[in-house]
C-alpha cells in the first residue's frame, strides 16, 4: 500500500498568494496534484497550515502544527497520518508531476530521491512511514533539512537521467513570472474575468470585462482608466480587490490565473 503526501504549508511569499489555489488545468493547483497522485497511490494526505483553507479535495487534510519548522515538519505530519508503508512526498506546486514518475520512485521499495543537476530533490522523494520517529528526533535536535531524513534512511539516490519525467516532477514555480510563463505554454487560454461592482460598475457601464492572464496590475489595466483602480503602484485606496471573493489583495505583482475572477469593490464596503 502506497501513499502520497502533498505539502502546502509554505508561505508562498515570493508568489504573493497561496500556491495551492493557483489555477492549473481548470482547478486549484493542489487539486491537480492530488488528482495526479491519486492515480497511482492508495491514499493522499495533504499537509496544510492552520491559516490556509483549501478547496474540497479527495484527500485527507491535516494541519501542520509547526509550519515554522519548515518542510520536514510537514513531512513528519504527513507520515503520522498515512497508512501505507511508503509515501511519495511532493510540494504543492508540481504541475507537471506524472503518475509514471511517482510509480517509478515508489518501485524502489525504500527511501529514494532523484538528483537533478547534482542536487538531491527531497520534495519529490519517497519516505518510509517508519521514518516518522527519525523525523521527530531530527526536529528536536533542530536539524530541519529534509535531506537529513533521507540520509538517515539510507535512501537511494537516483540520477535524473535514469528517470522519465523527473525534471518535470521537480519543476515548480516560486514567482509570478514563473507561474505565468508556465500557464502561457500550458494551452489553457481561459481568460480572467474582471468583475466590477458598485461605483465601478456604474462608471464603466458594465459588470464584466474579460482579459488574458497576467499579474494583477495587467488585469486591472483592462478596466477603463477613469476608474483609477491603480494609484502609486498599488491598488487604489478607494477600491478593494478580491480573487474569486475569497481573499483580498493589494499587491499588484501577484499572478491571476486562467478562469479566475478579479472582483473590484468599493473600499468602504460595509458600514
Amino acid at each position: 500500500m502506497h501513499a502520497g503526501i502533498v505539502l502546502c504549508g509554505g508561505r508562498s511569499s515570493r508568489m504573493g498568494r497561496a500556491k495551492a489555489w493557483l489555477p492549473w488545468q481548470g482547478r486549484p493547483m493542489v487539486a491537480h496534484v492530488v488528482e495526479r497522485l491519486s492515480e497511482v497511490v492508495d491514499e493522499v494526505v495533504v499537509v496544510s497550515s492552520e491559516q490556509l483553507d483549501l478547496p474540497p479535495l479527495p484527500a485527507r487534510v491535516v494541519r501542520d502544527r509547526e509550519p515554522e519548522l519548515g518542510p520536514l515538519a510537514g513531512i513528519r505530519e504527513g507520515l503520522a497520518h498515512v497508512k501505507g508503508e511508503l509515501a511519495y512526498v511532493t510540494a504543492t506546486d508540481a504541475p507537471f508531476l506524472t503518475p509514471e514518475f511517482v510509480k517509478t520512485m515508489l518501485s524502489y521499495g525504500k527511501a529514494a530521491a532523484p538528483e537533478v543537476d547534482g542536487i538531491v530533490q527531497p520534495l519529490a522523494a519517497v519516505y518510509p512511514r517508519s521514518a516518522l520517529a527519525c523525523a521527530s528526533s531530527l526536529l528536536e535536535s533542530d536539524r530541519r533539512r529534509p535531506l537529513a531524513l533521507l540520509e538517515a534512511q539510507d535512501y537511494r539516490r537516483v540520477d535524473a537521467a535514469e528517470l522519465t519525467g523527473c525534471e518535470d516532477a521537480v519543476r515548480g514555480f516560486n514567482t509570478p513570472e514563473e507561474y505565468l510563463a508556465a500557464v502561457r505554454t500550458s494551452g489553457d487560454d481561459s481568460p480572467v474575468v474582471l468583475e466590477l461592482l458598485g461605483r465601478a460598475q456604474l462608471a464603466a457601464g458594465r459588470r464584466e470585462i474579460e482579459t488574458p492572464v497576467g499579474t494583477l496590475a495587467e488585469v486591472l489595466a483592462a478596466a477603463p482608466p477613469e476608474l483609477e483602480l491603480v494609484q502609486e503602484g498599488r491598488v487604489a485606496r478607494h477600491h478593494l480587490v478580491s480573487i474569486d471573493g475569497r481573499s483580498f489583495l493589494r499587491d499588484l505583482r501577484v499572478p491571476i490565473g486562467p478562469g479566475e475572477h478579479v472582483i473590484v469593490l468599493d473600499a468602504s464596503v460595509g458600514g
Binding site: Q51, D53, S247, D266
Partner: protein, 599 residues
Amino acid sequence: MNGFHGRYWRFDLSRGEGEMVTIPETILRRYLGGVGLGTWLLHREAPANVDPLAPEAPLIFSFSPLVGTPLTTSAKLAVVAKSPLTGFISDGLSSSHFAIAGKRMGVDAIVLVGACAEPSELVLGALQPTRLWRKTPREADEALSKHGRVAAIGIAGENGVRFATISNDGRHAGRGGLGAVLGAKRLKALVVDGELPTPVADPKAVTRLARDLSKRSLGHATAKYRDLGTVANLAAFNRIAALPTRNFQRSRFDQGDALSAETLKPAREVARTSCASCTIGCEHVYGFGDEKRTRIEYESLFALGPLCGIGDPEAVLAAAGRCDALGLDTVSAGGTIAFAMECAERGYLPDAPHFGDAEGLLALLDDIAHRRGLGDLLAEGSRIAAERIGHDSIAFAPQVKGLEIPGYEPRALQTLALGFAVGARGADHNKSGAYEIDFSDRVDRLHGNARSAALSLETENRAALTDSLILCKFLRGVFDDLYAESAELVRAVTGWNVDGEELEALARRVVAARKAFNVREGWTPEDDSLPERFLSEALEDGPSSGARLTHERLQEMIRSYNLARGWSEQGYLPDAVMRDLSLEPSPADPTHAGPQVDP
C-alpha cells in the same frame, strides 16, 4: 468651559419636574460626549438591576462637544439606556437637528426618569397630556415641530415592543428597544429648543478644520455613500457569499440582483438627502407603489429582503417604510420574522408566514407593533420568542445577547464574528467595525484567529471615539490618524491640551465602561458567544463554501481579545481598569451635587 455646558438636565416624569445637575469637567474630559458621556451617566443614574421598562430606569439623550460647530456630520446624539431587549447597555446614535436644539438648551445631556401618569409629551420643559398617542413619529413631528425639534416614538414604542425605535428628523435611534423605554414612561415625544450657543476655544481653528473636513468628506473615501448609499453592500456581500439569507441558512440570495443598488438606483432613486450638518449626503430615497417613497439603508434592505427570502423590491421598500411609520428597528424586525419563518418551515410555528411571503411580512410588522396574535410573541424579540417556542429553536435565533444580528454573515467574516460575540450591545456592526479587517489582506476572512482579536479590538476603540466625539463613521476613510486628527478637533473646540494618546485611552475607557455596566447588570462570560448554528454548521455557498466557526476557535479569539484589552481571560475588568472609569454613585447618594437651576 468651551464645547460643553458642564451640566445635564434631569427630568422626573413622575413628578413633572426637572433639575440641572453639574458634570465635572474632569468627567467630560475623560468621556467627551455621546456614547462616552451617556455610558457614564447610565452608570450614575440607573439603579443596579433595574427593570429597563420600570419608571426608575433612565433614558439618556447625550450630546457632544462638537455639536453646534460647523464640523461636518457633528449634529449627532446618542440615546443610552438599559435595553429591554438585552438587559445590557444600549446606545443608539441618531443624526438630527434635535442634537443641535437640545444642546442649545444649555445642557450636555438630557436624562429622563420616572413615568407619566398618562400618555404625554414633554415640550420645552412642560409636561402635558398628548393627543398624538397612536400617531406615527412623522405625524408627531409635524404636530410638534412648531415648538422645536422632536424626538418621538411610534405605536411599537407605545406598546412596549422590545425593538422599538426613537425617531427624529426621520432618523432613528434604532437598536435595542430605546423606543420601548420611552413608551414605558408613557412619553410620546420630547421637544427641545434653546438659545444658548456653546462657546468654542479657538473659533478660527474650528472654522479652518471644518472647512478642511468638509472638503475631505467630498472625496473618494465617502463616494460610495454619496453615489449609492449603504445599499451598495448588498451586491458586494452577495458576490462573496456573506449576505445573510433565509435566517442565516444561506449566505447568498439568488434574487439579490433585483435588490442591489446597481439595480435600484437607475430604476427607482428619486432623491438624495443629508442628515443635519452633513456634507456626505448618504440617504438615497426610492420610489415604490403608488407614488410612495422611502429611504432605505443596507441593514433594512437585507433584513426585510434576503433574510426573509423576499426579492421583490416593492415589498422590501414598503416594509422599510412601514417600519419607519411604526417605529420598529428594521434589523430586529426582519431578524425576528425570519426566525419565525424558519420556525414555520420546521413546523414549530404553524401560523407564521413562510420565507418569501411578502404579504405575510407586511402583516406581521403591523401585528408586532400592535402586539396582535403571533405579533405579541415576536414583539419580544427572537431570543425570548425562542425560549417560549422551545424545540431548541434558540440554536437558530439570530441574536447575540438578545440583539438580532445585522447583515454580515459571521462565518464568512470571522473577525467581525468576534466583534459580534463580545459586543456590549449584542451583535453590533456599529460598535465593531471589524468587517474592515475581514475586507482586507490582513486576515483570512474565513479563518479567524488570535490576530483577528487584536485587529477587531482596534476597530472597536475607533468606534468608541467617533461615537463620543460624535462624528459619522462614514468619515472613517478620510482620516489618516483618527486619534491625532480628532485631538486637533477637540483642542480647537475645548481648549484642552489633548493629544491622540489621550483620546485612544479615552476610547478604551468608553469600551470598558460599557462592559462594566453589563457586568454590573449580570453579564457572565457565557453571554459572549454566537448562536449554536454559527458554531456547528458550515456555509455552503460560493466563495464562503466550507467556512465554519467552532466553539474552540471562537473561544480562543475571545480569550485573546480579553487579554489584549487588559481584562481577565474570561472578560472581567481588573480593579485598575475599574478605578480608571471614575464612576460615581447615583443622585440618590448624599454626595450627589444636587439640583442647580431649572431650564
